[in-house]
């Protein structure tokens, strides 16, 4: 089965996500925002001991669940206080929309194949790709977020020119 690969090396520098999404219940939906949020909480978050983000939220919308932070879309008012509070820049302001976006990874076989994964085709920077299981094994810096989502993490060492030991 194919998986969706998000290349965070490209994404994390992107000023504004502009992909289209085939998720249909909420037109104008950009499923990738939801994915990036999920990626942020599961991969980038440092899991601080006293969770400054949780403490900063005026509405108790953030909560630690199973080790990661989760945002309740029903309580969040998109004030972005958590974003300010996070010392590691995990929660980017643009990941906190008031009306939550949704990505179901095109799982529901609701569409013709050519219409699926429009996000992959519409990312102008080529950050998204569909990959086979075999391919994944060969690549470096990969993180599995869930069964269908893989992330190519940022190679910070290479980025800042630090040689690996």
């Amino acid at each position: 089965m194919k998986k969706l690969l998000v290349d965070y090396e490209i994404c994390h520098r992107c000023p504004k996500c502009v992909v289209s999404c085939s998720y249909f219940f909420h037109p104008g939906n950009n499923g990738l925002t939801a994915l990036r949020e999920e990626i942020a909480y599961s991969l980038i978050c440092r899991r601080c001991e006293n969770h400054p983000c949780v403490q900063a939220c005026p509405n108790g919308a953030l909560k630690e669940q199973e080790g990661t932070v989760r945002r309740s879309p029903l309580l969040c008012v998109s004030c972005k206080s958590c974003s300010l509070a996070c010392p590691f820049g995990t929660i980017l302001p643009e990941l906190l929309p008031y009306l939550k976006d949704r990505c179901d990874l095109c799982r529901e076989s609701r569409l013709e194949d050519k219409q699926r994964f429009v996000c992959v085709n519409t990312c102008p920077y080529g950050a998204l790709r569909l990959v086979e299981e075999e391919e994944i094994k060969e690549m470096k810096n990969l993180q599995l977020v869930n069964n269908t989502l893989v992330v190519k993490a940022v190679d910070w060492l290479a980025l800042y020119g630090v040689k690996k030991l």
Partner: protein, 401 residues
């Protein structure tokens, strides 16, 4: 009899009888109504569509504005639907508060109706008196919720504001003062011979009509159909207090008036019991709802005019995928076809009013009666068809004017 001329009396779209825009065309033979036609859409605001672009929480405020009279019934039905979807149980204190707000609304709405019905009958004194008695109820609302209309009290998982202890005696006092006045009003309506002449036997709706059209609320109960969502499917605190469903058998406008007036007393009873319990029960007023899971839910509630029905579907984000609203007037208004025909013009006004139709909610949806098809339904006789074509033309002309 063949070439009887028919006059079309348009009521609306802007007609003082209807505080809202609506178009009724009565086909009349002399003073006799032979057909009713109505056209809606003047008030259509596309609320169901708007709901899809608002968060679950915002939708409570939007549905509140479907209509200002049932302005808390829609939110109650809506939160019921969402709670059904998410399987949320609300705390007991919240249940009492919901019932209090719902019943206060019923009182103010029924009083409003009595007043307007009086106004339609040219009984302006009744109008003024009923509305005067209604004011203190609005005062309670202002005291408890901060607004006279559109109370913003309902919230998924409970209520938004608590009823303060110091407000309880005030509410009781107002209700105590209201009771004798209501009694007086009821007596005045029951005893007035002119009113009886005007209302009894007028616009009768049978129990079968009720079933066929799916009519609800006082419109159904006045015809002896004992349905009341508050009893049948108790939400809020309706199963925690003692009260009765009021029914009448006659199905005429008079019966509808009686049902409404007597219901006010039941409402007062409910509120008083709820207030008693509020004193004893100091729990929380809401549970935290963090997420709405995917799924679908149905909620309904007995608004002053009958059952409001909300259906919601969620995909797990924070806004509904589909929100269907069915307001009581939407099923009650079609009963005009059964109750208006053969009545005189001057009765139609009060028959229409008898249902307490409000177009705001109905109008969110689109409904029209078109003359073309109506003709066949009427009797199919060729002559009449021609006649009506003529009236239709006349109507067109008037529309253009």
């Amino acid at each position: 009899m063949e070439k009887k001329k028919k006059v079309v009396v348009p009521i609306g779209p802007y007609h003082p009888l209807l505080e809202e825009p609506e178009y009724f065309a009565l086909y009349c033979d002399g003073e006799m109504v032979v057909d009713v036609e109505w056209e809606a859409g003047y008030n259509h605001r596309g609320i169901e569509k708007l709901c899809e672009s608002k968060s679950w929480d915002q939708v409570t405020f939007l549905v509140e504005r479907i209509c200002g009279i049932c302005s808390t019934s829609h939110p109650i039905a809506y939160v019921n639907a969402v709670e059904d979807l998410a399987k949320v149980e609300i705390p007991e204190r919240a249940r009492y508060i919901r019932s209090i707000i719902g019943e206060l609304e019923r009182i103010h709405s029924h009083l409003l109706w009595v007043g307007l019905a009086g106004h339609f009958l040219g009984y302006n004194t009744v109008f003024m008196w009923a509305w005067k008695y209604r004011e203190p109820v609005l005062d309670i609302f202002e005291l408890v919720t901060g607004n006279r209309q559109s109370y913003a009290m309902m919230k998924i998982g409970g209520v938004r504001r608590d009823v303060r202890d110091e407000d309880i005696p005030v509410i009781r006092k107002v209700l105590d003062e209201l009771k004798p006045k209501l009694e007086m009003l009821t007596q005045a309506v029951l005893d007035d011979p002119v009113l009886a002449a005007r209302l009894k036997g007028v616009g009768v709706l049978t129990a079968q009509d009720v079933k066929d059209y799916g009519a609800v609320g006082p419109t159904a109960r006045a015809s002896g159909v004992k349905i009341d969502v508050r009893k049948d499917s108790p939400c809020a605190a309706y199963d925690l207090v003692a009260w009765q469903v009021i029914t009448c058998q006659e199905g005429d406008v008079f019966a509808k008036a009686v049902v409404r007036l007597l219901e006010c007393f039941e409402s007062i009873k409910i509120i008083e019991q709820c207030l008693d319990n509020l004193g004893k029960n100091k729990g929380p007023i809401e549970v935290e709802v963090r997420e709405i899971p995917p799924g679908e839910g149905i909620g309904h509630y007995e608004a002053p005019r009958g059952e409001v029905f909300h259906y919601v579907r969620s995909d797990g984000t924070n806004r509904p995928v589909r929100h269907k609203i069915r307001a009581p007037s939407f099923v009650n208004i079609p009963t005009f076809r059964a109750s208006c025909l053969g009545q005189t013009i001057s009765d139609v006004a009060i028959i229409l009013a008898g249902v307490d139709p409000c177009y705001c909610c109905t109008e969110r949806m689109l409904t029209v009666y078109q003359a073309d098809n109506r003709r066949k339904i009427m009797d199919g006789r060729e002559v009449i068809r021609l006649c009506q074509e003529k009236t239709e033309k006349l109507r067109e002309k008037m529309r253009k004017r």
